[in-house]
């Protein structure tokens, strides 16, 4: 474990420790509210943010990414409220147009094509101390926000109208949750990249779901699995000489297969019988 004395590994590990658990926590509500594709759309929108940031002269386009992703997230909610379009349609339109827009903007500045990999697949080993502090601050904000609004979010997930009758401002809460998700996803792109970031949102709660019987257990286990997956992936990638982002995703995938197999063997998942 001598490699942990390397400053770049320490920074990578700290970012993973800061972001893994909050992605797991957010993921509990993302999966329960069928928002995995929503999170995927936000992450793909980052490509336009990256390209626009390059064009505007940013070395590290974190702020343009955050702004553009927030814009797309709010646009998704707004379109859902104001049009009769299906969620999937809205998300597919925004996802594909953001990817296309990003590629077109990048084509205008070919000298930065080589940096694309870093954003598509993540490059946690290149993070600076500033990134560590930003990740820590975002982690505190997201964790505090989720714990503060845990009851309204739980009731909203169970039934929107019940939440309304209980005095919860449903629309405000929806927007606040989406903004927290967008901030977390935008930053986690540095860890896992645009293509894989959703795995850190979806896999920890899916693994935790296999092991828990109530929401409290689900949240606590999802936080823990997010931490283990992110930090474990960073640690494993060094001695195995593997790319860090995909190693995190594969570590979580292995845990998912193990936990799902365990659940099937415990007969907690009934097979779906085809209708004959």
């Amino acid at each position: 474990m001598e490699f942990l004395s390397e400053p770049f590994m320490q920074r990578a590990l700290l970012v993973a420790i800061a972001l893994g658990p909050i992605c797991g926590f957010l993921g509990v509500f993302v999966t329960a509210r069928r928002m995995a594709f929503f999170s995927d759309t936000i992450s793909h929108a980052a490509l336009t943010g990256v390209a626009a940031g390059f064009l505007a002269g940013f070395d590290e386009p974190t702020i343009p990414v955050l702004l553009y992703c927030s814009l797309v997230a709010v646009a998704m909610l707004w379109l859902r409220e104001r049009t009769q379009l299906l969620n999937d349609t809205i998300m597919a339109v925004l996802l594909s147009s953001s990817v296309a827009g990003g590629v077109v903007l990048l084509s205008l500045q070919r000298n930065r094509w080589s940096e694309l990999d870093k954003y598509l697949l993540g490059d946690i080993l290149s993070v600076a101390w500033t990134d560590v502090w930003v990740a820590a601050a975002v982690s505190v904000v997201v964790m505090t926000g989720l714990l503060w609004k845990l009851n309204p979010l739980a009731l909203l997930t169970a039934h929107e109208d019940l939440a309304h009758v209980a005095g919860i401002r449903v629309r405000h809460l929806n927007y606040a949750f989406v903004i927290l998700l967008t901030v977390a996803v935008s930053l986690t792109i540095r860890v896992l990249g645009i293509l894989l970031v959703t795995s850190l949102i979806v896999l920890p709660p899916a693994i935790a779901r296999n092991l828990s019987h109530n929401l409290r257990q689900h949240i606590l286990l999802s936080l823990l699995v997010g931490l283990i997956g992110a930090a474990g992936g960073v640690i494993l990638s060094y001695p195995l000489d593997l790319p860090t982002g995909p190693t995190i995703t594969l570590t979580l995938t292995a845990l998912f297969i193990l936990s799902t197999t365990g659940r099937i063997l415990r007969r907690e998942v009934a097979p779906v019988k085809p209708v004959t």
């Binding site: 999966t31 329960a32 019940l162 309304h164 009758v165 109530n214 929401l215």
Partner: protein
Amino acid sequence: MAEPIPDSPAVEIRNARVRLGETEVLRGVSLRIPRGKMVALIGPNGSGKTTLLRCLLGLQRLDAGEIRLLGEEVNPKSLKRVGYVPQRLQLEPAFTLSVREFLALRRPDTRHWFWQRRKTIDACLHGTLSDLDVESVLDRPLASLSGGQLQRVLIAHSLLGQPDLLLLDEPTAGVDTPGEHSFYELISSIHQRLGITVVLVSHDLAMVFRHASWVFALNGVICCQGHPEEVLNADSLKAAYGIHVTPYHHHHSGTDVREEPIRFHKR
């Protein structure tokens, strides 16, 4: 904002109009539900039952008219005194919220359920749950309950808010016939014990006949209202449903309740 009037009706609707797209779903609905009554709102599909319920819950704005709940306008303050039992919850199996956690969300003394011990939460919930037969499912995820169990849990959830008015939307949809009987018996006993106003929005005419003290038949407007035996006759139902409906007949023999199924005859 006007102060609530102490003896004001539980629900008062004056000339409520709602247009959804091209259709005027509510065309001037007026009704008055005195406090402490158990009433039913019946009507065919598309008659505006759900729209009217959404208006009562502040989920749908009126184009014209006025609604007052317990003497106040429909707002977050008046809705705090309203218990709502929806038709069903559309829960993902991925959502592990347990019955205990769901119920704890409704009470001020268990709002910190995430940090509280199970025994502490159960002690707080016990008083309300004792008659509702839901204590055996407290550990179960909400998404795993049967239709009948879920309805009891939803009733418990609404009662934990100590409502003065209970609104139930097609409460026995997805519940089997024996379950329906026991569910309505439960609602009746809650109504009698707590003296709260109960509004059943239902298409289930047999249950309405047995349990409601007053019936409103809706079809865009209130077609007729009165005691169940007055409203549930062929002429009144024809006015509401637009087709001939043979009213229910109950045959009581001991505890066995048999019903003739409702018959619809298009004329």
